[in-house]
């Protein structure tokens, strides 16, 4: 074979140039999904209940005499604010500005709280109760009979970044693959570039391989950028051992979405039509496949529909290998399924394909 590899080298170069210079394409395939990640990742970052503010009136010995480490623990749960007088503090409770009011009357610790927010009310009650009891115990001079040892464990629940990163990556790859192959097909047919290439010493496989190669390259770039952003401490995605399996998964997914794009490109006569069909195909698929929110909040009949969508399986497999420590056992069947899907769609596209748009 020659230095141009049957046309593969120059064709791939023109495709990369054409893609990089297409600002709309770069925006929708990279920047737009990334904006979702940056935004959703920040919005859903802190799902824990915020500290409960408590209005304090005058001096409360119990609080003033607290040892420093106790005080630090307390500050994690409640935020003490000074109120000018009792009326002011009670007004704040009524308005919902604070969770409760606290003041000392002789040896009685007075607490008032609103029942409007049960969680906050409970927090205020138990915090103050604990403080009073331990102060009472300390006052007796006896060592405590029971002590508590506490530590945290990694829970099984899904952190937002754990489904956002794979889900939005899956969506980005789906858009990239489907849009590139559909629009390539339509525009090549329209501009007759394919015919011109037919009359040049270009191997047919080089035209296909160039397009597929460039799209797979885009998918790898998308993966690198998404994971790169998701693992920065602010978003805090923890990659598990077999995270690199996301790369073959994304490549298989990209092929599957390209094959969807081939069908759309074979059917659509104009770029506008292709664009419209792509939008109404990819967006609902992304929603149903859990790209934007966890799929398990959906009603079961929707989940059943989602089962036939390649993006759903890609998203779940990506989540599994990226942060659930799953490995080949999860990835291989999904890759096989995606490739099978690709084969079926490509065969359908070949049936529907017409050289001329007429």
């Amino acid at each position: 074979m020659s230095r141009s590899l049957g046309g593969l080298v120059p064709l791939s170069r023109t495709m990369v140039l054409g893609l990089v210079r297409d600002r709309t394409a770069v925006f929708f395939m990279l920047i737009f999904p990334l904006m979702f990640l940056v935004l959703f990742g920040a919005l859903f970052q802190d799902t824990s209940v915020s500290r409960s503010p408590i209005a304090q009136v005058g001096d409360v010995e119990l609080l003033e005499e607290l040892p420093a480490d106790y005080r630090a623990d307390l500050d994690k749960v409640v935020e003490l604010r000074r109120a000018a007088d009792l009326d002011e503090a009670l007004k704040q409770v009524r308005d919902g500005d604070v969770a409760g009011a606290i003041w000392q009357d002789g040896t009685t610790i007075e607490v008032r709280y609103s029942e409007a927010d049960g969680v906050r009310a409970g927090t205020v009650r138990s915090v103050v109760q604990t403080l009073v009891e331990s102060a009472n115990l300390a006052a007796t001079g006896q060592p405590p009979t029971y002590t508590i040892a506490m530590d945290t464990v990694e829970d099984d629940s899904v952190k937002p970044i754990q489904f956002l990163a794979p889900g939005l990556l899956g969506w980005a790859v789906a858009m990239g693959g489907a849009f590139l192959s559909a629009l390539t097909l339509v525009s090549m047919r329209k501009t007759r570039l394919l015919r011109r290439l037919w009359l040049a010493p270009v191997r047919p496989w080089a035209v296909v391989a160039g397009r597929v190669g460039v799209t797979l390259g885009l998918a790898v770039v998308q993966t690198a950028v998404f994971l790169g952003v998701a693992v920065i401490p602010f978003y805090g995605l923890q990659l598990s051992g077999a995270w690199w399996l996301s790369i073959p998964l994304v490549l298989c997914g990209s092929l599957a979405f390209m094959s969807i794009g081939l069908i759309i490109g074979a059917v659509a006569k104009t770029e506008e039509a292709a664009n419209g069909i792509l939008q109404v195909t990819i967006m609902p698929m992304a929603f149903l496949s859990g790209s934007f929110f966890p799929a398990d909040v959906m009603p079961s009949w929707l989940s059943t529909i989602a089962q036939v969508m390649p993006l759903k399986h890609l998203n779940e497999a990506l989540m599994a290998v990226l942060s659930r420590d799953d490995s080949w056992g999860t990835a291989l069947p999904v890759m096989g399924g995606l490739l099978l899907f690709t084969a079926v769609c490509t065969a359908i596209a070949a049936k529907l394909f017409r050289w001329d748009s007429a």
Partner: protein, 242 residues
């Protein structure tokens, strides 16, 4: 006698129930400037596409330099240059990048591409995107791309359609130069003055058949008329067609 550059015999092509090409036979000698004329829908472009190797004929053969143009033959493709009716360019590339890509596809040096750009007068427009070129500039770029690998045989499908009179005269000079450099040129057009000025020989086509072939001057005197246009109208009729 030299082997003909093009040898076509008994070409037929049907689309559905339309007989687009109905038994076309002709030969083109090396170095000749040959024109195919005819009204719209006469089968010029289909004939040209079969000869180039874009379409497979239902019947008949089309040989270039004695080699059938169908199936695709990579050695043959290196010896022919084509300019299609609609200009076909890669997206988002400048004029220079377009022709450099064609140079790379044909594996000829890029300096050669730059020289072609110069020869069609587009050096100043080299860094302009193809969408910003005027109709004439785009046609010239398309022709430069067809010539980048120095082909022996060049096919030009209506290269002057849509050009203003100045750009057409300008294009004629370019086409003459291409032929004067020793290349065989096949041209389709529906401008009769153009064929009369440029072509050594023309074939007049209608309804998928060749009605008459010969040097323009001979056809004019044979039918006792003034111009090639009169020949054309006499052969194809005056009635309006769609």
């Amino acid at each position: 006698m030299d082997q003909p550059a093009i040898s076509v015999s008994g070409l037929r092509k049907t689309y559905g129930d339309v007989q687009a090409v109905d038994g076309v036979t002709f030969e083109v000698a090396p170095g000749e400037f040959y024109g195919i004329l005819g009204p719209n829908g006469a089968g010029k472009t289909t004939t040209l596409e079969i000869v180039e190797g874009l379409r497979r004929p239902d019947e008949g053969t089309a040989e270039l330099f004695g080699i059938p143009s169908w199936p695709r033959n990579y050695e043959l493709l290196r010896r022919i240059g084509v300019q299609l009716q609609a200009t076909a360019f890669f997206e988002k590339l400048t004029a220079r990048e377009q022709i450099h890509t064609f140079a790379d596809l044909y594996e000829v040096p890029r300096e050669r591409a730059d020289a072609m750009l110069e020869s069609v007068g587009l050096t100043e427009k080299a860094d302009v995107s193809d969408t910003e070129l005027s109709g004439g500039q785009a046609q010239r770029l398309s022709i430069a791309c067809a010539l980048v690998h120095d082909p022996e045989l060049v096919f030009l499908d209506e290269p002057t359609t849509g050009l203003d009179p100045q750009a057409r005269r300008n294009m004629w000079d370019l086409l003459r130069e291409i032929n004067a450099a020793g290349r065989t040129v096949v041209l389709t057009t529906h401008y009769l003055d153009e064929a009369e000025v440029l072509c050594d020989r023309v074939s007049i086509m209608d309804a998928g058949r060749i009605l008459r072939t010969g040097p323009p001057a001979e056809l004019i005197s044979e039918l006792g008329v003034k111009t090639l246009e009169d020949v054309f109208l006499q052969l194809t009729g005056r009635e309006f067609r769609q």
